[in-house]
């Protein structure tokens, strides 16, 4: 088992943003995490990465209890993430942003740069390498965050709405990218409100509502669950999800 969270609770004052949530992540899983706004998905994420101290519960990584580890230690172990509200290094270029990630595995500037360029190439941003990061729009920033995270050579990558703000065409390209990442041996947890992403990528889905898990299963099971439709999907999206056929190949048939 790669990553395991047991009974995570996170309270802000009397309000429990995450309430006794557990999850296990096997090697080469793609776990989808969905739920209404404010359900506690990002909070749960932050508890896994160490950005927030859990109120109770444990986090295990490769069998090791990392509950009290600082975020940078977890990154060192191979846990990488992106932020829902992009945390770009505004004063740097795109390349330098990615180099920060690459520096985790090498202290040499040249090596870090080479690696950062390779990662940028892989995510399709190499032409932007020398542009100031502050000139990117939200979608660009999110992609940059993916690149940065990849540069740390993670075992597990947690994506918090990394595809928000992309149009349908771009979403497809992004899905391909994530598949490619997955194929290279990285286990993923993705939070998305774009159902197409969940439907085509997730091997398992977990649904949050008011800090609690209300459903889990395959994408298809979950999206046809009436409780999920009621709390989260709405009729229109449920219909769209129902019509969705998972695709396995890059550039295959689409919705």
């Amino acid at each position: 088992m790669l990553l395991e969270a047991r009974g995570i609770t996170k309270a802000f004052g009397s309000f429990k943003a995450v309430d006794d949530a557990s999850v296990t992540l096997e090697h080469s899983d793609i776990l989808g995490l969905i739920g209404p706004n404010g359900a506690g998905k990002s909070t749960f994420f932050n508890c896994l990465t160490g950005d927030l101290k859990t109120t109770s519960g444990r986090v295990l990584f490769e069998g090791r209890d990392i509950t009290d580890f600082a975020p940078e230690l977890r990154a060192g172990l191979g846990l990488a993430r992106t932020f829902q509200v992009p945390q770009t290094f505004e004063g740097m270029t795109v390349l330098e942003n990615v180099m920060i990630g690459a520096f985790l595995r090498t202290a040499h500037r040249k090596e870090a740069e080479t690696k950062a360029r390779a990662v940028l190439e892989r995510v399709g941003m190499s032409r932007l390498a020398d542009a100031p990061a502050r000139s990117l729009g939200t979608p660009g920033r999110k992609r940059l965050e993916i690149a940065r995270a990849l540069a740390t050579e993670p075992k597990v990558l947690l994506l918090d709405e990394a595809m928000a703000g992309l149009n349908a065409h771009e979403v497809k390209l992004a899905i391909d990218l994530v598949r490619d990442i997955h194929r290279s041996g990285i286990t993923l947890v993705i939070v998305e409100h774009i159902m197409e992403v969940i439907m085509s990528l997730a091997s398992r889905v977990m649904v949050f509502h008011q800090g609690k898990e209300i459903a889990r299963g395959s994408p298809r099971e979950v999206t046809s669950n009436p409780a999920v439709i009621e709390a989260y999907l709405g009729k229109r999206a449920a219909k769209a999800a129902a019509g969705h056929t998972p695709v396995e190949l890059m550039g295959g048939p689409d919705l």
């Binding site: 706004n37 409100h193 999206a237």
Partner: protein
């Protein structure tokens, strides 16, 4: 078609030496919903920000109800009846949800309508009402989006500009939000919408303009654009 509320001609905007948009023209007829389409970095945000006065216009004209507003300060433009829900939300993260909404009502001349407008926002986004005293900086991503849109609605604008309003919202919320836009539209509100979910955008809007690399390359009625093979290929993933 009634008269144009907003008309942009050959807008060029620069960020220092970089060109944000090079040549954008578009028209927003009074009472219509206009969608601004285009891929990542196409210039949608730049255009909206330029209209709102957040970034200086390099050349071109922006006329709002016949008055050229290019070059005016943002606070003055907003007071004329434009409101923008900007990219990245730009909330006042240290202040409460309700304070944020009340700040949105600043340009309102008739302060007595504040309460009613607040109720309207709370009706569209009940979550905001639940969290009215929470600090905006602790809200979830989707909650922030609701707040940004709600705040823009608070000034009861003549022209509502929305930069990717559905970003980060749960599907059910998007659905109800768009229903609300439809209702507001029927009540006479003019909306200029930049939206990544093009299918959805074309569904609610009357007209649309496509931006490509900082230029407006296509415009027409929403229905016509939805059929346009070029649009289908580039944005709707067809082919």
């Amino acid at each position: 078609m009634s008269g144009a509320l907003l008309r942009i001609e050959h807008l060029e905007v620069r960020y220092g030496d970089l060109i944000g948009v090079s040549d954008v023209s578009l028209e927003v007829p009074e009472g219509s919903v206009v969608a601004l389409l285009g891929s990542n970095g196409g210039g949608k945000t730049t255009t909206l920000n330029a209209i709102a006065g957040l970034i200086p216009v390099h050349s071109g004209t922006i006329s709002f109800r016949g008055e050229d507003i290019a070059g005016q300060k943002a606070f003055a433009i907003v007071r004329k009846g434009l409101a923008l829900s900007p990219e990245g939300w730009r909330l006042f993260v240290q202040q409460s949800v309700e304070n944020n909404l009340m700040l949105g009502a600043t340009p309102l001349h008739d302060k007595s309508r504040q309460a009613a407008l607040l109720e309207r926002v709370y009706e569209i986004f009940p979550r905001l009402k639940e969290r009215r005293n929470q600090r905006a900086g602790t809200m979830s991503g989707g909650e922030r989006q609701m707040l940004a849109v709600g705040r823009a609605l608070m000034s009861d604008p003549k022209l509502l500009m929305l930069d990717e309003p559905s970003l980060g919202l749960a599907p059910a919320v998007v659905e109800s939000m768009y229903e609300t836009f439809g209702r507001l539209h029927r009540e006479g509100l003019t909306i200029l919408l930049a939206e990544q979910s093009i299918e959805l955008a074309l569904e609610v809007s009357d007209f649309a303009t496509v931006l490509q690399v900082g230029k407006s390359v296509l415009s027409g009625t929403a229905a016509a654009l939805a059929e346009d093979p070029q649009v289908q290929k580039a944005y709707l993933g067809a082919g």
